[in-house]
């Protein structure tokens, strides 16, 4: 079966979280396609992470749990999902 590109929005616990360190931590823990910054409001920025998972593996819960468990992460939301070819 094919792969699925998952776009996740990671909200930091607070506006003071060092997003560069968080980015590094994410790259160490999971295989990502890309990470970008998304300005939200009042100086608060989210990380937009695109990761690729196997369709057959089913679901994004392990990925969400892994990311949510990182220090500094407030919450994780899947905002986009598409099967690749």
């Amino acid at each position: 079966m094919a792969e699925v590109a998952v776009t996740l929005r990671l909200m930091p616990e607070s506006a003071e979280v060092d997003l560069s360190m968080l980015e590094t931590a994410i790259k160490e823990r999971i295989k990502v396609h890309s990470i970008s910054r998304e300005p939200i409001a009042f100086g608060l920025e989210a990380l937009r992470v695109i990761a690729v998972v196997e369709d057959a593996a089913g679901g994004t819960e392990p990925l969400e749990r892994e990311l949510a468990g990182l220090p500094g992460v407030g919450n994780v939301q899947v905002i986009g999902l598409t099967r690749l070819l």
Binding site: M1, I40, A41, D55, G58, G59, R83
Partner: protein, 420 residues
């Protein structure tokens, strides 16, 4: 003027040719890179035979090298619109994400292979599209080459698909466009097929331009589910979330349910820019006066006091059971995921079992339901929760049901008893 943008969800059984249909269209519209085509042409006659498959492989290879993945090959333009394709994954567990967070689809393309007909996944995806509130759909009866391009095969299957769409909740699905196609050979994808002269409707590519841009639900009551809440130095309490319906303006008083607290909107920001008001689809952070950060949390919903979010005591839902190792009976308490909320809810009664082929009631008060069944159930949340009726605010009526690490069902709230 810039073309309007539409999110297009492609649904159907994984082997029925969704990718081939889209790939073929990209290829014929010249959206595949020139250098890829040149490489193929250097292959000579042998290459010609495999032209199309080769292009698909090239795209796959490119993706595997990690160069572009989703973006480049998921966007295209027609005469009227700028499309982004969301290809629905095959695995049922992704249904939760499609329901709670993934970007809203504006139109759907349902692909059914003529030789295979309607498969369980066809039914599930059709139900998912309806649950997601995708009101317009085009159906492609693909692989017509495998049934001799016969009109009667197409008409029979078209009738079955219409029945299926009615069963999952669509009204008047006979008004949707049904295109007989053989995507692999390019019949009726971009160019009209000379093998199906009996078909006089639009080819797939032109059917896309028949879609319309759904109006934003700005005239509905405000519903703004909270994704997270921050306390920002020098600003104060800042809830963050996406406006689902209605409009929120600076100066408005908002009530958060089920927290039951209210406060005044002092300022709204989107992408770090101050804005006077926010509309459906806007991801915003807003500063509210009079509410402490700890008083509200993820899963609360903001609305205006004159039409506040509905806290439900009990609700009636229509669900489709996607997967379950055994059976679901009254008393079962899995977790319901709706917008940003996650609440354990008890299924207090299984009211009716419905025929997934017709939507008709086949059993009153069944003792249990299992995988593949559709049913009407009564549900009692174990703690206060906001939910709305599908007929009034569909954006806050849909949910996914999870247990044991699986998405076991998807559904919508069709009726409710408010808590107050």
């Amino acid at each position: 003027m810039a073309k309007p943008h539409l999110n297009l969800i492609t649904i159907g059984h994984v082997d029925h040719g969704k990718s081939t249909l889209v790939g073929r269209m990209f290829y014929e519209k010249g959206l595949v890179k020139e250098e890829d085509i040149r490489k193929f042409e250097a292959m000579g006659d042998k290459g010609k035979t495999f032209k199309f498959a080769w292009v698909m492989d090239a795209l796959k290879e490119e993706r595997e090298r990690g160069l572009t993945i989703d973006l480049a090959h998921k966007k295209f333009e027609t005469d009227k619109y700028y499309f982004t394709i969301i290809d629905a994954p095959g695995h049922r567990d992704f249904v939760k994400n499609m329901i709670t967070g993934a970007s809203q689809a504006d139109a759907a393309v349902l692909v059914v292979a003529a030789d295979d007909g309607i498969m369980p996944q066809t039914r599930e995806h059709a139900a998912l599209a309806f649950t997601l509130g995708v009101g317009q759909l085009a159906a492609v009866i693909n692989k017509m080459d495998l049934v001799g391009y016969k009109e009667d095969v197409f008409n029979k299957l078209k009738g079955e698909v219409i029945d299926l769409l009615k069963a999952v909740g669509y009204r008047n699905p006979e008004k949707f466009t049904f295109v007989p196609a053989a995507a692999f050979h390019g019949d009726n994808v971009v160019k009209a097929s000379d093998k199906m002269k009996w078909y006089t409707g639009p080819v797939f590519y032109n059917a896309l331009d028949a879609f319309t841009v759904p109006p934003k639900p700005i005239d509905k009551p405000l519903r703004l589910p909270v994704q997270d809440v921050y306390s920002i130095t020098g600003v104060g309490t800042v809830p963050v979330g996406r406006v689902e319906t209605g409009v929120v303006k600076v100066g408005d008083t908002l009530v958060f349910e089920p927290a039951g607290v209210s406060g005044e909107v002092k300022s709204i920001e989107m992408h770090h820019e101050s804005i006077p008001q926010a509309e459906p689809g806007d991801n915003i952070g807003f500063n509210v006066r009079g509410i402490d950060k700890t008083a509200i949390r993820r899963g609360d919903v903001a609305g205006h006091p004159k039409s506040p979010p509905t806290v439900v005591k009990e609700f009636t839902a229509r669900i489709a059971v996607l997967q379950h190792p055994t059976a679901i009976a009254a008393g079962y308490t899995p977790v319901f995921h709706a917008y940003t909320a996650q609440v354990a809810c008890t299924i207090s009664e299984i009211t009716q079992k419905l025929d997934p082929k017709s939507g008709e009631v086949i059993q009153e008060k069944p003792e249990f339901i299992k995988k593949g069944d559709m049913a009407t159930i009564k549900v009692t949340p174990t703690k206060p929760m906001v939910l709305e009726k599908a007929s009034e605010l569909p954006q806050l009526s849909r949910f996914a049901v999870r247990d044991m690490g699986m998405t076991i069902a998807a559904g919508v709230c069709v009726d409710l008893t408010p808590a107050k």
